[in-house]
Symmetry: C2
Amino acid sequence: MDKHSLLETQSRILPYVHNTPILTSHLLDDLAGAKLFFKCENFQKMGAFKMRGAVNAIMQLTKAQQERGVVTHSSGNFAQALSLAARNLGVTAYIVMPTNAPKVKKEAVLGYGGIITDCEPNIQAREQAATQIVEKKGATFIHPSNDLNVILGNATSAMELLEAQPDLDFVVSPVGGGGLIAGTALATHYFGQKCVVIGGEPLVADDAYRSLKTGKIESNDSAHTIADGLRTQLGDINFPIIQKYVDHIIRVEEDEILRAMKLLWERLKIVVEPSSAVAFGAVLKDKSYFKDKSVGIILSGGNVDLDTIKFS
Amino acid sequence: MDKHSLLETQSRILPYVHNTPILTSHLLDDLAGAKLFFKCENFQKMGAFKMRGAVNAIMQLTKAQQERGVVTHSSGNFAQALSLAARNLGVTAYIVMPTNAPKVKKEAVLGYGGIITDCEPNIQAREQAATQIVEKKGATFIHPSNDLNVILGNATSAMELLEAQPDLDFVVSPVGGGGLIAGTALATHYFGQKCVVIGGEPLVADDAYRSLKTGKIESNDSAHTIADGLRTQLGDINFPIIQKYVDHIIRVEEDEILRAMKLLWERLKIVVEPSSAVAFGAVLKDKSYFKDKSVGIILSGGNVDLDTIKFS
């Protein structure tokens, strides 16, 4: 977890991921009152930053481990990421998915060659199903967000952003399971110049906000947010990093998330998922804080079930 | 209308337009059975290729003409393009818009500083209102598609595409008023290597298809297509170019347009308007014709009223 390990990670995964584009918009700058740099992970392979962590985690396994495959439980993007990363590296991926996962995400996992095991939509059922596959197949479990190699892989997005825009005042990342913001925070600590990391989180699933207040990992009783990638909670590996390097978390309401997403679609002409809009929504929510600053925003992904999106 | 005038046009407008990105997708290639290169005019300034023609047309006016302003009638993108191009060149733009024009497009015209005159949604009312402004203000009328300088400006999109991909077998463009496909055809004639130009047109507004058959400009009795940019008919300046340099036009049904648009949004993670999806829809419709070929597709723009789009 030092500068060197981040640079090594970046070189390691380089052949398997895109250096994603950074978009800007005068109109959105005017609206926010700040200079915004959108890091477009929706253009990453399989459509989200998760590809970075998945590739790195698999590459760090021994050859013997790789031959027995990898397993994860995920409701969405990490399932696709691990499936595609595994296929590209010649490894078998077993994916435990809740029965209520979005249809497009299940289809994408199958398209990338992942082997799906269905489970009930609760964390106990997921973990049990994954444990069974570990025992039966000898596969290695890779957690979607609470895994240091996943976090280091995820960090490469903010590294690229800071390479292109070294003097950012802020980087804003969505907070779900904590794997993206932890990586973003590490990258910013080692490669930023006085750059501050802020999280954006749905108000109705504000477990990370509360965790930073209480100093212990909090969970959500319910998490009925449109930002389906942000319903999960922090883990014991990413939480200490977040405590150390993230300044604070801004909570965003559901209508603010939808409004932010609509602005990104309309003005940047890109499709991003609701979770990505949470980070931009946080900047719009607390305008005075970001006023006249240079702000990087990690747009985490673009895997949306278009049939379910209604702007009006 | 020779190679030299195209190159001059490209240099002239260079400071005022983007060289837009070209996107590719393995998945869409597999689906089409061809190698596809999507020229993303949705990322052009004001969100559509029309900016190219508008800039060029204004720049070709005398200083005295520029001081008296420009006027056009347009239901959409050209209104925005002329407004923004005029503002960037220090010129006044008068825009005649039908009362039923999409709300986002009217707002955008106002945002770019265009001065709107409302008119009834028929071609006679539009032309009358524009003529009044020409007489009253001394402004120069610029037609959205039937103007040689507009056509030459529009041609620069395909020029950039062929610079990046010189050995394309086909370039496919949507056909509405004819200004884009005429420019595309000129660019491809002078800068392509045996590259063939194909049009994509909505079946329910197939005036250009019929015009090529009969040899005279046909019109549509009705044009209830989702591709709102393609409801207009050809003009006497662009039609001879289209007759000479466009191989043929493929007609696409409404559900095929919507399906093509959904694929572009889902897979390329970009927002394109229905008119853009018509060109891609044409390639999907006639797969055997394009099989294993290199195909450039002009995605004309990304200005969509998101409130009106329903994929299911």
